[in-house]
């Protein structure tokens, strides 16, 4: 969907809240996936998705387009809810990485599909991602899964584009190290 089409939908929803359903249908899958990837729990993801859209509907009149698309604004709401969720669950159990497992990296990572073809390596990569801090996990979802630009991600996380580039770089290095060393600690200091 182009920016113009999205803008038209937003204007329609602002004029008549009952037109919000179009925006909902457009983004519900992505917002749910975003929450699910953070919580790893369907019930939690559904709850956070509901709250995201309720909040968006109630504060739609306050939305002002300032260069960033509506999508970034919606993700910003979702992100704030996720941050609160992490805060509420500070004592959540962490997934441990098996330190005796063999190294993950195949030479040059030229064929990731082949590399993640075995259940062991798949699980290892999942564990590595699961252990990432919240902002890096968000970055991975928005960058890799939702293919958002750095500017849009900056809008979501409330940071500058330069900061996002730096965070992206650090995240890549963390992932690369963890995948190549096997038991790398990806929870590196920010």
């Amino acid at each position: 969907m182009s920016r113009e089409q999205e803008r038209a939908l937003v204007l329609a929803a602002k004029a008549n809240p009952e037109a919000f359903s179009e925006l909902y249908n457009l983004y519900v899958d992505r917002i749910y996936n975003y929450h699910y990837r953070h919580t790893s729990n369907r019930t939690e993801a559904e709850d956070l998705t509901s709250r995201t859209f309720y909040r968006a509907l109630r504060s739609l009149q306050s939305y002002r387009e300032t260069g960033a698309p509506f999508q970034a604004w919606l993700y910003r709401i979702a992100h704030n809810l996720v941050v609160n969720w992490y805060r509420d669950r500070q004592n959540r159990p962490t997934v441990s990485i098996d330190v005796d497992a063999p190294p993950l990296l195949i030479s040059g990572l030229v064929s990731p599909e082949a590399w993640v073809s075995t259940s062991e390596t798949r699980q290892r990569l999942l564990n590595v991602i699961e252990r990432l801090p919240e902002d890096r996990k968000t970055l991975i979802i928005l960058k890799f899964v939702d293919t958002m630009s750095n500017a849009e991600i900056a809008e979501v996380l409330g940071r500058t584009e330069g900061a996002i580039k730096a965070l992206y770089h650090r995240t890549l290095i963390s992932l690369k190290r963890a995948m190549s060393e096997g038991a790398g600690d990806v929870q590196s200091k920010r």
Binding site: N16, E18, Y24, R30, Y32, S50, S111, P112, L125
Partner: protein, 115 residues
């Protein structure tokens, strides 16, 4: 002659080549595909949001009605006060005219005052 240096170099910035960046991205997407919500959840939330939107529309209209009522009452009050003031001023002016009227109707009022 080649001699091994005793210096140790610190890598200031580790670089991830573009090819590896793409490989990492593809690997992440492969193990982390998009998860879709259940149809039942999507439909239920859609209905709930529609109800909420409808409630907002009604609330907006009733708010508009309340605003109109308030404006009507307020402007009516202001007009009443202004009208009252205007009548009072007119009455005062008439009374002033009556008070300044000459004793002898044939003499102008100014002369009577000067005398």
């Amino acid at each position: 002659m080649f001699s091994r240096s005793g210096k140790r170099y610190v890598v200031l910035q580790e670089y991830v080549p573009l090819k590896q960046q793409r490989a990492i991205a593809r690997a992440v997407v492969t193990v982390w595909p998009r998860i879709r919500p259940s149809r039942a959840f999507v439909d239920q939330l859609s209905r709930d949001l529609a109800t909420e939107a409808h409630r907002q529309v009604i609330a907006h209209h009733s708010k508009g009605d309340r605003t109109l009522n308030f404006l009507g009452l307020f402007s009516g009050g202001v007009l009443s006060v202004v009208g009252g003031l205007a009548i009072w001023l007119l009455v005062q002016r008439d009374q002033d005219k009556a008070g300044n009227a000459p004793l002898n109707p044939s003499q102008p009022a100014s002369r009577a005052t000067a005398a």
